[in-house]
């Protein structure tokens, strides 16, 4: 009997030992596989953390061009509307969260820094007639963040060339971040920020990106309980005003006519409660005035 106990015990210990030996032998292979996978990531889409830091730098450049309006009441209101829509978006949480600010300029525009910082101009706020229009503008910008449109150029460039960063990948994994690696990363970062800033604040998005952002915005607005049709009516009003005045509105949002045509096709048949719409329009007016 005792012999059987010993045999069982030894068998268990032997099996356990085999497993440990297997693990020890397997570890370097797994490490190699992991390093290989990590190296491939250099070509992969940009991580949330990278996007956040690029977005911060883009935002820092935007606010160096436009002063930020110091109006806590209006900023709080815009943040309430923006966060409501963001939570109903496809990406309710970002690495650094969503933040909203108003730029003190009469220009009518809105910018979505990668990662979640969204700017609208005072001129844009003045051009709005109700809360649902504000939500529509913010939903469109949130969609650009969800779709990572601000960093699309960087993603494309990264896909085209793996870049020399791959060579440093193993160093990064074991935590040896050398000064030369930081310098290399800084150069890469500067280039990335320039690309993102040019997309977000200078050249604007492609018409295709705008159409996709409109499509997503309609979805987020519907989920939130806002009237998605105001996205179209607001664009039409801006377009008509632009035609009359000869001044192009929302210059970083091209393809206005095509956008409106597509939007007409994409709008869902939503029954909007007029009482609730008016209720929100009243609080909008109360805040703006």
């Amino acid at each position: 009997m005792i012999r059987i106990v010993y045999i069982n015990l030894l068998l268990s210990l032997f099996l356990s030992g085999c497993f440990t030996a297997y693990k020890v032998g397997k570890a370097p292979i797994d490490s190699a596989k992991r390093i290989s996978k990590e190296s491939k990531r250099a070509k992969d889409p940009i991580t949330d953390v990278e996007e956040y830091y690029i977005g911060r730098a883009v935002a820092a450049n935007i606010v160096s061009s436009y002063p930020v309006l110091v109006d806590d009441e209006l900023t709080t209101y815009v943040s309430f509307v923006g966060n409501t829509v963001a939570l109903n978006s496809n990406k309710p949480t970002t690495y650094g969260g969503y933040h909203f600010a108003i730029l003190d300029t009469n220009e009518i525009n809105a910018f979505a820094s990668p990662g979640g910082i969204i700017f609208i101009t005072k001129g844009l706020v003045d051009s709005l007639e109700n809360e649902d229009e504000l939500a529509a503008v913010l939903a469109h910008e949130i969609a650009h963040i969800n779709n990572q449109d601000g960093i699309a150029l960087i993603k494309a460039a990264r896909s085209a060339s793996a870049g020399s960063l791959i060579l440093k990948e193993p160093l990064r994994i074991i935590g040896s971040i050398t000064p030369s690696y930081i310098a290399q990363l800084t150069n890469y970062f500067i280039q990335s920020v320039d690309d993102a800033f040019n997309t977000v604040a200078v050249n604007g998005y492609s018409t295709e990106q705008e159409l996709e952002a409109d499509k997503a915005a309609v979805l987020y607005l519907s989920r939130s309980g806002y009237d998605p049709s105001v996205l179209l009516s607001y664009q039409m009003r801006l377009y008509e005003e632009g035609q009359t005045s000869g001044v192009e509105k929302m210059r970083t949002h091209p393809g206005a006519f095509e956008r409106m045509e597509k939007l007409k096709l994409n709008l869902p048949p939503v029954q909007v409660n007029k009482t609730n719409f008016e209720l929100r329009a009243e609080r909008f007016q109360a805040t703006i005035e």
Partner: protein
């Protein structure tokens, strides 16, 4: 003989327990909250920050029920990385790691890079960006805003 079998089963269970681990996820946002119920703006049970490890209990739609420092609650799926391997057991698994890459960049790497960027671009107003990021609205106020406007939160 019966006692011997129990003894054997016990040893096998001890052996297996070493290799059965709960699924662990990592927080991928700067800060977040474990909430009482699986919805935004449910009362907060615990605050979590980047790279905190959470034990996955189960999935509930877009949310996960997780364990954290002895308490259990909900966190949205977009706030965690399930394909995570603990840094303390980096060679003990063959799962795909998305963590180490991000951890290194989120830590020393990117902070240094951003500082270098600031030095080369003194006009870039990072102080104002910080003010924008620090501008907070409360959970209760937003919930009230949504209710008063007859809006919806997920």
């Amino acid at each position: 003989m019966k006692q011997l079998s129990y003894f054997f089963i016990l040893i096998v269970l001890i052996f297996l327990s070493n290799y059965t681990k709960a699924e662990i996820a990592r927080v991928v946002t700067k800060e977040n909250a474990i909430r009482e119920d699986c919805r935004f703006y449910s009362p907060v049970i615990a605050k979590v920050t980047l790279n905190d490890e959470l034990e996955i209990i189960n999935g509930q739609g877009d949310w996960y029920k997780v364990g954290y420092q002895g308490s259990a609650g909900c966190i949205h799926e977009s706030a965690i990385d399930k394909k995570y391997i603990s840094l303390s057991s980096i060679d003990e698994t063959n799962q795909t790691s998305t963590s180490v890459y991000e951890v290194s960049l989120a830590g020393k790497g990117f902070l240094n890079v951003e500082q270098n960027y600031k030095n080369r671009n003194p006009k870039a107003s990072f102080a104002i960006v910080k003010e924008i990021e620090d501008f907070e609205i409360s959970d209760q106020e937003l919930t009230l805003f949504v209710q008063n406007g007859k809006l919806r939160l997920p």
